[in-house]
């Protein structure tokens, strides 16, 4: 029995190691200093990098997290702490529908909501698309993290003569902090690799840009463009970009875990 379980576990982990191993093998060779310090070079010109995409990814993901975590934690709070609120069933339904939505549809939604009124592609539109994708994940993880907070903690807070919102903000939320942070990171990791929602929103930009109201580059976008191109050098850069993306997500997760541990 134990052997079967071990075998199953191995079978489940195998794809992970295969993917990681392959990305490292193919990507490591193309990474040099210029990869981080230079912007993309035109075809045929050697020595380009992905600086603009790295910066763009950080900016877009940060703005997406602000949207996704704020709305998601709020919705999770409503579902967990005010489950009998008349809005709760609506929020739950919307959350479920949103969770099943293909990523590219979210890009179209952001296109309608942001790109058309602004009359141009922008990093902001990309962040809205990614943020919407994060909302259902954050909502669900927040709700279950709050459900794990013991009833006694809430009651002890109420028994001190504190208003309900006070107990939630100062007792319940801090007690569920680790679960909420972990959920937010999972959501970020999930959307940070998405290229589809960015195609019609952030659009991509071979030059370094810090302006959220204009098109911006992003690693998944750059990866997509390079991967579907017929050029050998671009393929190598696409592998390198995927390795970098994996490492960035890993680093974020580890850093946040470290922060949590410091504060306990």
């Amino acid at each position: 029995m134990a052997a079967l379980v071990a075998l199953g576990a191995l079978a489940a982990l195998l794809p992970l190691f295969l993917v990681l191993g392959y990305v490292v093998r193919e990507g490591l060779g193309a990474i040099d200093l210029a990869f981080f310090t230079r912007d993309p070079a035109p075809v045929g010109q050697p020595g380009g990098g992905v600086r603009s995409a790295i910066v763009g990814t950080l900016i877009i993901d940060l703005m997406a997290s602000v949207i996704g975590v704020t709305v998601g934690v709020g919705a999770g709070l409503l579902l967990s702490e005010y489950g009998h609120h008349p809005m709760a069933p609506v929020v739950r339904l919307v959350g479920d529908v949103l969770g099943g939505m293909p990523a590219i549809i979210m890009g179209l939604v952001a296109y309608q909501l942001v790109v058309r009124p602004m009359r141009r592609f922008s990093a902001l539109a990309g962040s809205v698309a990614l943020g919407f994708l994060m909302i259902p994940i954050v909502t669900r993880s927040t709700e279950s993290a709050l459900a794990l907070v013991p009833r006694e903690l809430r009651e002890a807070g109420m028994a001190l003569g504190l208003p309900r919102w006070r107990v939630i903000v100062s007792v319940v939320l801090p007690a569920a902090r680790d679960g909420i942070v972990t959920g937010a990171l999972l959501a970020l990791a999930r959307v940070a690799g998405e290229a589809a929602p960015l195609l019609l929103t952030a659009f991509g930009n071979p030059y370094l840009s810090f302006d959220p109201t204009r098109p911006m580059d992003s690693l998944p976008l750059r990866l997509f463009v390079y991967a579907i191109s017929p050029f050998q050098e671009w393929h190598a850069q696409a592998w390198a970009a995927s390795l970098l993306l994996v490492l960035m997500i890993l680093a974020t997760t580890l850093a946040a875990r470290w922060v949590i541990r410091q504060r306990i």
Partner: protein
């Protein structure tokens, strides 16, 4: 002029209740003032009635123990006294509960204000996991708006001394509350409840999750505390009720069977069901 008249009325109603509870002679000799008074209290969970028509006076600055077998309604009654049933959607409370003469279920009463005056300690020690020892005690005052450090420090030290925990934690007030032992955690929870200076302290089986040494300390603490605060304690342990309380109420199947001075109830119970329970024939 209105105030003395009201006070006289209260004293009179208290005396009447004492008379009912203890007989005429007790009213003459003891006549304790009542901190709280329940009149015809019933509690329903949905359609099910968990407590039936309980009337009971809780003498001020005394320890009142509520005993009875599991599911008899003693905890249900305790939670009536600080409106904790408000938090359970299916629960409904009928009847009148007076706190110093004021009906805490009255139409214009804020349950939050009531809970500030009637504190509660739970069966499982509750430590707020992200707070250190100091913050665990100060939380009630701080979140009620107290910002002055001096006031907070004084209140925390007073509460920890009252809870007989000061000497053990005074050098590590910034350590996490969860670093304390089970018995210490329960005294920390008591200190937290005391820090907001409640008039009444409700204790729901406060020692059932604590080892014998910790239990001993908490029982000593109760004896000390009753000089400054009225205590109502739910316990399934009859020896504990006999040791710590001045008055005992015996609950059975949602009814208050008997209420009397502790010594009298244990030595000379009037109801045969009380006798059967305290002599260990059931429960």
């Amino acid at each position: 002029m209105a105030i003395p008249a009201k006070a006289a009325l209260e004293a009179e109603s208290a005396a009447v209740l004492v008379e009912q509870a203890f007989g005429a002679e007790a009213a003459d000799t003891a006549a304790p003032t009542l901190a709280m008074e329940a009149r015809n209290v019933s509690v329903y969970y949905g359609q099910r009635r968990a407590l039936t028509d309980v009337s009971l006076g809780i003498p001020a600055r005394r320890v009142t123990a509520l005993i009875g077998p599991s599911g008899c309604g003693k905890t249900t009654f305790l939670r009536v006294l600080n409106r904790m049933h408000d938090l359970t959607r299916t629960a409904r409370v009928e009847g009148t509960v007076l706190l110093n003469g004021e009906d805490i279920y009255g139409p214009r009463v804020d349950p939050i204000a009531i809970r500030r005056r009637v504190g509660m300690v739970f069966q499982k020690p509750v430590v707020f996991p992200t707070m250190n020892i100091f913050d665990n005690v100060a939380v009630g005052l701080r979140l009620a708006g107290e910002r002055r450090r001096v006031v907070l420090h004084e209140a925390v030290e007073r509460a920890l001394r009252q809870a007989a925990l000061w000497d053990e934690v005074k050098d590590r007030l910034t350590a996490p509350g969860l670093a304390l032992s089970g018995g210490q955690q329960q005294r920390l929870a008591i200190a937290r409840a005391l820090a907001v200076s409640p008039e009444v302290l409700l204790m729901d089986e406060p020692t059932s999750a604590i080892d014998p040494v910790g239990t001993q300390r908490i029982e000593d603490l109760i004896a000390e505390l009753k000089h400054s605060v009225t205590i109502v304690i739910v316990t399934h342990n009859m020896q504990q009720a006999a040791r710590v309380s001045d008055y005992v109420g015996f609950f059975l199947m949602g009814e208050l069977v008997e209420f009397d001075e502790t010594e009298r109830l244990f030595s000379n119970p009037r109801d045969p069901r009380t006798e059967a329970y305290i002599t260990g024939r059931f429960g």
